[in-house]
Amino acid sequence: MALRQPPLYDLHADRATFTDFGGWEMPVEFDSIRTEHAAVRESVGIFDVSHMGEVVVDGPDATELMQRLLTADMASLDPGDAQYAAITDEAGIIHDDTIAYRLPDDGDPRYLFVPNAGHDEEAYGRWVDRREEWGLDCEVRNETDAWAMVAVQGPDAPDAVADATTVDPADLGRNEIAAGAVDGVESWIARTGYTGEDGVEILCPPEDAAAVWSAFEGCQPCGLGSRDTLRTEMGFLLSGQDFDPDAEPRTPYEAGIGWAVDLDTGFVGRDALAEAAETGPEEAFVGLKLRERGIARHGHDITVDGEVVGHVTSGTMSPTLGEPIALGYVPTSLSEPGTQVEVVVRGDGKRAEVASTPFIRDK
């Protein structure tokens, strides 16, 4: 199947290298991952994240449908608020994670949520099927092709945004969204992101994406390579890698996002998760620091005394720390920071230590 190209593809074509990400041909690197990573940690970088999905839900029962399909308490959101949540099945297994925005409205409630790349059709189908099953009165639209998305991230992002848009980030709290204009292009501007830094994500029509991108000329263009090192340093989950309903079935408690579960709401998977919360997870998602030379990668075994106890789901060299870091699952009894383990890299056990996340806590 042909890869979907983001609306900014032509703009990036002669500057970036590309990769297949969730069925999209996305820029992975512009200058170097190290340069791009440092820009986001120290000043400001801009990402094309148009591969992310957009599903819009509105109508009288929109809140009810959102509440019953996401783990967090959607009913508590005021217009203009956003919330991170998981989409779980009846067994409480995470199928996707998402940011759900309650958009400002002048009538019925209206939501926009952002499934991961390549998950938009699945999410849309789930929402429509459940709406039918439960007889709810709301509209669900997969608007993935109707939106481009760029993320401006880093300590200098608020200044960059204030210069380029009609929305002053200072007026926007963390996890808030507002309508505004970027270089005259009407957009949604949200104070969210997935790098651990301050910044915004901007949703705009695809035909105007180049104008929006160009409004942030002073920002370092960043690809998905640095996005991955940035989120790994924060201990943030990557869909399809750190959790996956088939290859890595995990509950939100195992995956370390139990804080995004509200058992007082009635969502799909709620009963299974109430039980899981009672017994506590057997395995935990932890950070790891290698104490020997080597890089832990997805799939590497974690061992204690030669016995396999878990595995790595993400791993890289941390550009900020200059040391190899990883994320993975171990038995809860081994999840305490400082616990000594080994990671098997190409047959060799490398000394490693369980570490708390984010790895860059002082940021």
Binding site: V28, E29, S32, I33, R34, G225, T229, R293, G294, I295, R297, T316, M317, P319, P324, R346
Partner: protein, 126 residues
């Protein structure tokens, strides 16, 4: 474009070999380091190890990828560039200079001659 100096020969898998008449120095090409991106780790054999042309002799990892390294010629490792263990980025900064990987003794001239010329290798990477 990428530098492909003609004072050395190349393997299709992007390693180069250059000789001073006695010792052969091995590394990876400018094209290869660019493809890999930021190099963060190299695993190399030890001095005294015997390499056979075409066999894996080590591993190079960048932030985004892991690649095997293949011996461009057979020979005995006489020296390893240990600077790369602490500064793997030298491979990016100076693949033909400070970013060299191994020095080999006892290399057969025929092995060396069988490698691609700079021109032939350039055609492959265009």
């Amino acid at each position: 474009m990428f530098e492909t100096p003609d004072d050395r020969k190349y393997r299709e898998s992007h390693e180069y070999a250059t000789t001073d008449g006695e010792t052969v120095t091995v590394g990876i090409s400018d094209f290869a380091q660019d493809e890999l991106g930021d190099v963060v780790f190299v695993e190399l054999p030890a001095a005294g190890d015997e390499l056979t042309q075409g066999e894996e002799f080590g591993v190079i990892e960048s932030i985004k990828a892991v690649s095997d390294l293949y011996a461009p010629v057979s020979g005995t490792v006489s020296e390893v560039n240990e600077a790369l263990f602490d500064q793997p980025e030298l491979v990016n900064e100076s693949p033909y200079g400070e970013g060299w990987m191994l020095k080999l003794d006892g290399v057969d001239d025929a092995d060396f001659e069988a490698l691609l010329t700079a021109e032939e290798y350039s055609e492959q990477t265009e």
